[in-house]
Amino acid sequence: MSLIDSIPLPRSLRLPRVDGLVQWIVPLAIIAIWQVASVTGFVPVRVLPAPSDVALAGWKLLLSGELVRNIWVSFWRASIGFLIGGSIGFAFGLANGLSQLSAKLTDTTLQMVRNVPHLALIPLVILWFGIDESAKLFLVALGVFFPIYLNTLHGIRTVDPQLIEMGRIYGMTDGELFRRVIFPGALPSIFVGIRFALGIMWLTLIVAETIAASSGLGYMAMQAREFMLIDVVVLSILIYALLGKLADSASRVLERLTLSWHPAFQKR
């Protein structure tokens, strides 16, 4: 997508577009060097297969339909887990940011749970759910919950009190105050939470899929390791990287659309 964006029209050759191109120079250069190093035998193929071999492995898996199926399964787990954990975190963040009572009731508990690394729960989660879908969804949701909860809460608590007073003076109802002042004011912080959560989402999923799964990208990588298919292992890692980058770009686009008022997004 960025590549298409970055095809420069003669008159619109401005900084952001050039940036779009620039960010791909380093990854492409690394791949080129890697290819050369493999072909010349500088890096043994058993340590790291050439990019062309990885691409070929990818092509074969694509034809067999296995690749698409595994990507789809991982993607599905990531999004559903993200939606569940994100919504709950957002809801708690709203509730605790807006209501003192709710904050008193739940915040301490949540802060305690936060200090348990969620991946440490994997053995327990396997005992509870076995290795079916709910185990992975649970872990992803749990991992995603905290960054979204904390940043939503922080965003709401740090909305300029002068603006809230202004809203009240001008007769906004509670609903209007939330819609016009509190939520837009908390949005930049919520986006920080989303970006963090996306990172945790992939990390959790990779770990969960390599340990306890019978499908998905992580499972594909583990299978390949057993059969010494190093090209497929590398392929899986690259796909994870691409998906992570994709999720991040999507959140940036969303951010740019909703925060166009923010001075930081007014580089036009």
Partner: protein, 278 residues
């Protein structure tokens, strides 16, 4: 040019009171907003924060449409008084009445900070000022009119972050004016502006006040600004109104005239002598 027109109108009004009554009626019909202000009566008003007795019995009557300036040294309770008048804080004792029923939209405050919503365009920020009428059909038109009054019609689709400090404060003024308030309270609205912007904002304030006839209460730390704009200057000391100075200078006033300078000097000496005593 507008100012000149208005000046001649008000002079005619002055003259007509004595001689041509019919003419005076014509003038009033052209300016129906002239009587929109509300009178304000404050009796025995007290307010403390913990042990800190800030207001210790304020008695004050402001006739409808008067322009009152409040001065006093920092921390004497000017903002507190203004917030009580605007209904933003609870009164400890005493009363504030506006001589009749008031709607929330009748009383507006403008602060030193513009307090614009950064995520709403200029026009939408002005619409906020409509209060409960925000959803009405003519909301856009009314907001645009208010924006024109403060001279920012061309900025209606901008984000507040691209405006200058003075422009932001003008948007805030438009937002305060859009509901046609009958009492407008200003808490050092020009305090953060540079000298030139300040003078043009003072002119704007005076103009809208004369156009709309609301009762204006201006808290300021600039005595020159107080005597240039107000009909009456109140000096607050130790929680009470220590001096109540009427500024009987015809408008438009000549900035830096000897008359205003004399008044400014005497008010300043009140303030300074109070400072020496403490």
């Amino acid at each position: 040019m507008q100012t000149a027109l208005r000046t001649s109108l008000s002079e005619t009004e002055f003259a007509s009171r004595a001689s041509f009554a019919p003419h005076a009626r014509v003038v009033r019909e052209e300016r129906p907003m002239q009587i929109s202000g509300l009178p304000l009566s404050i009796r025995g008003l007290r307010k403390s924060f913990g042990d800190n007795e800030v207001l210790r019995g304020i008695d004050l009557h402001i006739p409808a449409g008067q322009f009152v300036a409040i001065v006093g040294k920092s921390g004497c309770g000017k903002s507190t008084l203004l917030r009580l008048i605007a209904g933003l804080d609870k009164i400890d004792a005493g009363s504030i009445s506006f001589g009749g029923d008031v709607q929330p939209e009748d009383i507006r405050v403008m602060f030193q900070e513009p307090r614009l919503l950064p995520w709403a365009r200029v026009l939408a920020n002005v619409e906020v000022g409509l209060g409960r009428d925000r959803a009405s059909k003519d909301a856009h038109a009314r907001a645009e009119k208010a924006l024109t009054e403060v001279g920012l019609a061309d900025k209606r689709d901008q984000w507040p972050s691209v405006l200058s400090g003075g422009q932001k404060q003008r948007v805030a003024l438009g937002r305060a004016l859009v509901s046609r308030p009958r009492v407008l309270a200003f808490d050092e609205p020009l305090g953060a502006l540079d000298a030139l912007t300040r003078i043009s904002m003072q002119r704007l304030l005076e103009r809208v006040w004369r156009d709309q006839g609301f009762t204006a209460i201006l808290v300021t730390h600039d005595v020159a600004e107080a005597v240039a704009l107000a009909d009456r200057v109140l000096v607050i000391e130790e929680g009470r109104i220590a001096h109540d100075v009427t500024i009987n200078v015809a408008r438009p006033r000549q900035r830096g005239s000897a008359e205003l300078a004399g008044l400014e000097g005497s008010i300043l000496s009140h303030l300074l002598s109070a400072d020496d005593r403490t």
